[in-house]
């Protein structure tokens, strides 16, 4: 899922300061699962903003909505009938959703209520960690299902660097060496021959290096 963290309330209050009538839009997708931008978070943030603003002597009217997904046009379109009645939209979806709202409703300021994090997994309630950087050329079949791009701090492709000490990365003592994990897994799977099959040089043209990416599936158009 795409993860995120709430922005400090002080920062959000500063953002909405010019407005008295806004939409607060959540998303039922990833941000609901990571408890940062779903229906419950919309309710809590709306109440918090109303209380803070009224205590400061200037009320704010907030329309609370939670779209199925803010990254799909058919759901974003559902806001069209009432969007003109408000001065701005504060979105607590991921950066993709916030930008899609801005794109679909260009005359309406689109404000971010969260800081978008990474593509990750839930370790336990309240803890998420990164697993994928969307490099566009997956090699997980050769690395025991552990991504060297994401799990190695340097995104190395040919084994651990000199900063790997007893399975721990030099970057942070709480970070396991991605390559140690890969080698341990390959040994356990009896697939160490895969270590030698890695491409001599990874092409990064499919990653972010080529600028904003797009996928066009001719078979679906």
């Amino acid at each position: 899922m795409i993860t995120g963290t709430p922005k400090p309330i002080e920062e959000i209050l500063e953002m909405v300061e010019p407005y008295d009538n806004i939409i607060l839009a959540g998303c039922h997708g990833c941000v609901t699962v990571c408890r940062v931008g779903g229906e419950k978070e919309v309710q809590v943030l709306a109440s918090t903003l109303r209380l803070a603003r009224e205590a400061g002597g200037r009320k704010i009217n907030i329309k609370e909505v939670c779209l199925e997904r803010q990254c799909d046009p058919e759901y974003v379109e559902q806001m069209r009938p009432y969007v003109g009645d408000y001065q701005a939209v504060l979105s607590i979806a991921c950066g993709a959703g916030i930008q899609f709202l801005a794109e679909k409703y260009p005359i309406m300021p689109s404000l971010p209520g969260i800081n978008t994090g990474f593509l990750g997994v839930t370790e336990r309630q309240g803890e998420w960690s990164e697993r994928c950087q969307g490099c566009g050329d997956c090699v997980l079949h050769l690395t025991g299902g552990i991504c060297p791009v994401t799990r190695c701090a340097k995104s190395l492709f040919h084994g651990p660097c000199g900063g790997s000490m007893q399975g721990i990365c030099e970057v942070d003592k709480s970070v396991k060496c991605g390559w140690q994990l890969i080698i341990d897994r390959l040994k356990a799977l009896n697939q160490m021959e895969n270590y030698g099959k890695l491409k001599p040089c990874k092409g990064w043209s499919t990653a972010r290096d080529g600028g904003p990416r797009r996928i066009i599936r001719e078979d679906m158009i």
Binding site: P8, I9, E10, K40, V44, T48, L51, A52, A55, G57
Partner: protein, 113 residues
């Protein structure tokens, strides 16, 4: 009245303040004694989060508090309620109610003139 404090959402506690409460006390069963296993533990975490929110927006964190007691401790409940009411009286009306009272007073003065 809710069947379990585990049903309490953060938004419900904040709504109470929006609706004019000066303080909110959440009374749950003793920890380790929840009929639904961990309802009161969840409630404690939510009350703590609301505590943090109220502190950040300067409503005053002490206006929300959780108490734990068993259903058989009536006198303890009364003591907790009196203690909390005393604390809220000491704090005075919430900033929301202060603003609303000020606005109501301004309206009545305008009407009188």
């Amino acid at each position: 009245m809710l069947p379990c404090t585990g049903r309490i959402e953060e938004s419900l506690l904040l709504k109470a303040f929006e609706n004019g409460a000066d303080g909110v006390m959440v009374v749950g069963c003793l920890e380790g004694d929840c009929h639904y296993v961990s309802g009161n533990i969840r409630a404690r975490a939510r009350v703590n989060r609301v505590y943090g929110i109220l502190e950040k927006i300067k409503i005053g964190p002490d206006r929300v508090r959780m108490f734990n007691l068993s259903a058989g401790e009536g006198s303890k409940f009364a003591a907790f309620a009196n203690e909390f009411v005393g604390k809220i009286l000491e704090l005075g009306p919430s900033p929301i109610n202060m603003v609303r009272a000020g606005q109501a007073q301004a309206v009545s003065q305008k009407e009188a003139t």
